[in-house]
Amino acid sequence: MERVRFAVVGVGGMGVAHAHLIQRTEEAQLVAVCSASAERTRQVSQQLGVPGFTDYREVLDRKRVDAVLIATPHPLHAEIAEYAFEHGVHVLCEKPLAVSISEGRRMVDSARRHGCLLGAMLQMRTEKPFRLARKAVEEGVLGDLLRAHMLATWCRSQAYYQSASWRGTWAGEGGGVLLNQAPHHLDIFCWLAGLPCKVTAQTRTRYHSIEVEDEAFAVLEYPNGAHGYLYVNVSEVPPTRYFEVTGERGKVVIAGEQVTVTRIVPPITEYMRQAQDMWEVPATEPWHGDVSEGQTGHEAVIRNFARVLLGQEEALIAPGEEALWSLELANAMILSAKRGKSVHLPLDAQEYDALLAELRASSQPRQVMQEVRRTDPSIARTIRLEQD
């Protein structure tokens, strides 16, 4: 295999951007696109000059592809991925990996059983500030966790939710900001601080007329007892994107694009008992790590996935197992909020499935004024794919 033959399933929104990026990737070749909408399929297949399908099974059945990039609405991810694995096709999946942790775990198991690769489109991991922060964590700069903090806000209008019948519904999305906008940030948060073991959360719908949450916050507890807090919403501008992870040996702060890593000498717990002068504080010094300049964004994730398949790189940027973190955290928050209790991780998948079934049972498809299928223009711009 010289180039990985890719199909993109789901080309209504982000998928079409991915299809373009695959065509630009040296190690990859776009061989098919697929959308549930016949019209959209025709349009995109013409635009990209590749065959179009309306049934993903047809694409995956015929040994015409090595890998599939899944960019459908999230509730379909699991079913398509499992079908792909059963047919020996590797999967690169948009975030969130799935809607429920049980689906996510099944996907990871299925990939392992069939010897296939499962990667997640968590391209924020390729961005320099986050890579730097992660490097600090990997090098042990933080030491034992003391506190973790994350704020991430977006702004979505009611029109955004009215653009498709699946948006903002339990049946169509299986969650709100936690499943749609926040997964990248939840992923980075877990990448830096690890998964908490206890989650006490609230989800609320304050500014939109939608079924799912437009605001969520949680008080977290980590295995060593450290405290954490996270907050997300889709009702705020200007956006705040802020991570603070403090440890007994150091601290990482990411404010927007700016990362600051500080080392504490000696570690706080040690210093705490040693200091003789009542007003003395431990010395701190900036840590200057370095990471290579590399390709960033969706393109980098696609390329890395292809290169791993071709044996040119060892590790995936975001393997499926790690994509379970943000999903588990999101599920835990919804479960905690809806059941009004603290939830322990690893999450009881059956309990969450039961809740989701309840939420779906009373879910109504959204009244759509005018169906709009369009990639987030801010993403389209960054990948030089301004369209519409």
């Binding site: 003391l146 653009s163 916050f217 405290h227 907050y231 501008v237 003789q276 369009r374």
Partner: protein, 380 residues
């Protein structure tokens, strides 16, 4: 009267710093000091050439004073302040004004009855970034409150807590970081965002050998339903001091003293419902807020206090507002100790009962190093 004759009650720690600062304030004259420790009283009295007392009552009764600065350990503030008011003196008290809300109520009431000026030492309110943030909010830039957060992380070592018997005990302080280090931040948070109406909190003792909390966090709810969060600790270096107040019309952030203000056009709620393009968002623009130049710090609060007495200048931090941080701190402690959500204002009787319980179980310290030194950062 052209200068206010001031006495300082409690000159072992911060009080000695206040004594030193008196010379910077033209509107006041240091006329007496008092401290329970005779050596400290004598030393400071002689240093500034003023009469000194070991009993604050004698100091207040001396006829030498128009006003007192109360800088004793916090649980003693109310009794000293009430005594001073009852003798017709004005009071500037160190933060927190009290650790028990019912006592704070009484202090405010005593000041009102006596018709005297009552202020609290919240010098953070004199700092420019915070004055800008406050001005922006007063100008209506934030609009309807949507979200708040406060993170105030400080560092104290074990030697600090071992330096005096009263420190970090329920009897001696009546709380930990919430009543000692955090009051400035809590006051600032309330000055900017107002008091929340509900508090669900945890207080914990994680890294120090002390009986009070060295960490506290709370999920807050405001009267309009807006969510808030606050965190404070003495376990972290380098510290963080961060406030974020997000509203329908704009956002004010003060991050480690750096203030950022942006206005949203049109207001978010209006935009959310009126936008027709699915990917569009409202515009935001930076806002420049002007405030007059003013020196910052303790001396400025003292000057303002004196000018309030002399000329009726409005107080920067009146006693009626000083109670906010008491309300919030006790709400957090009550919520944590009783494992429930607490509605503000805190039920006075309930908190009083809790505090009695905590004090009854308070144990004397195993080791005390006996250092009485003001925070060198403040002295500098």
């Amino acid at each position: 009267m052209d200068r206010v004759r001031i006495g300082i009650i409690g000159v072992g720690g911060m009080g000695s710093a206040h004594a030193k600062m008196m010379s910077e304030v033209g509107e006041v004259q240091l006329c007496a000091v008092a401290d329970v420790d005779p050596d400290v009283a004598k030393q400071v009295g002689e240093q500034y050439g003023v009469p000194y007392f070991t009993d604050y009552r004698q100091c207040i009764d001396s006829g030498l004073l128009d006003a007192v600065i109360v800088a004793t350990s916090h649980p003693v503030h109310p009794e000293v302040a009430e005594y001073a008011f009852s003798k017709g003196l004005h009071v500037l008290t160190e933060k927190p004004m009290a650790i028990n809300p019912v006592e704070a109520d009484r202090m405010i009431e005593s000041a009102r009855r006596a018709g005297k000026v009552f202020a609290v030492m919240f010098q953070m309110r004199t700092e420019r970034p915070y004055r800008i943030a406050r001005q922006a909010i007063q100008d209506g830039i934030v609009g309807e409150l949507m979200r708040t957060e406060m993170v105030a992380a400080y560092y104290r070592n074990q030697a600090y807590y071992d330096s005096a018997e009263w420190r970090a005990t329920w009897v001696g302080e009546g709380g930990g970081v919430l009543v000692n280090q955090a009051p400035h931040a809590l006051d600032m948070f309330c000055w900017l965002a107002g008091l929340p109406s509900k508090v669900t909190a945890s207080t914990r003792t994680r890294l120090h050998e002390i009986e009070v909390e060295d960490e506290a966090f709370a999920v807050l709810e405001y009267a309009n339903g807006a969510h808030g969060y606050l965190y404070t600790t003495t376990n972290e270096a380098p510290g963080t001091t961060r406030f974020e107040i997000a509203g329908d019309k704009g956002k004010v952030v003060v991050n480690n003293g750096q203030v950022l203000i942006r206005r949203v056009v049109p207001p978010i709620r209006e935009f959310t419902l009126s936008a027709t393009d699915m990917w569009s968002g409202p515009k935001t623009e930076p806002v420049e807020v002007e405030v007059e130049d003013m020196p910052a710090g303790h001396a400025q609060v003292t000057r303002n206090f004196a000018r309030a007495i002399l000329y009726g200048e409005p107080l920067l931090s009146p006693g009626e507002e000083g109670i906010w941080c008491v309300e919030l701190a006790s709400g957090i402690i009550l919520s944590s100790k009783r494992s429930k959500t607490v509605t503000l204002p805190v039920d006075r009787a309930e908190y009083d009962a809790l505090l009695k319980e905590l004090r009854a179980n308070s144990k004397p310290k195993r080791r005390v190093l006996g250092q009485r030194v003001s925070d060198p950062n403040i002295v500098r």
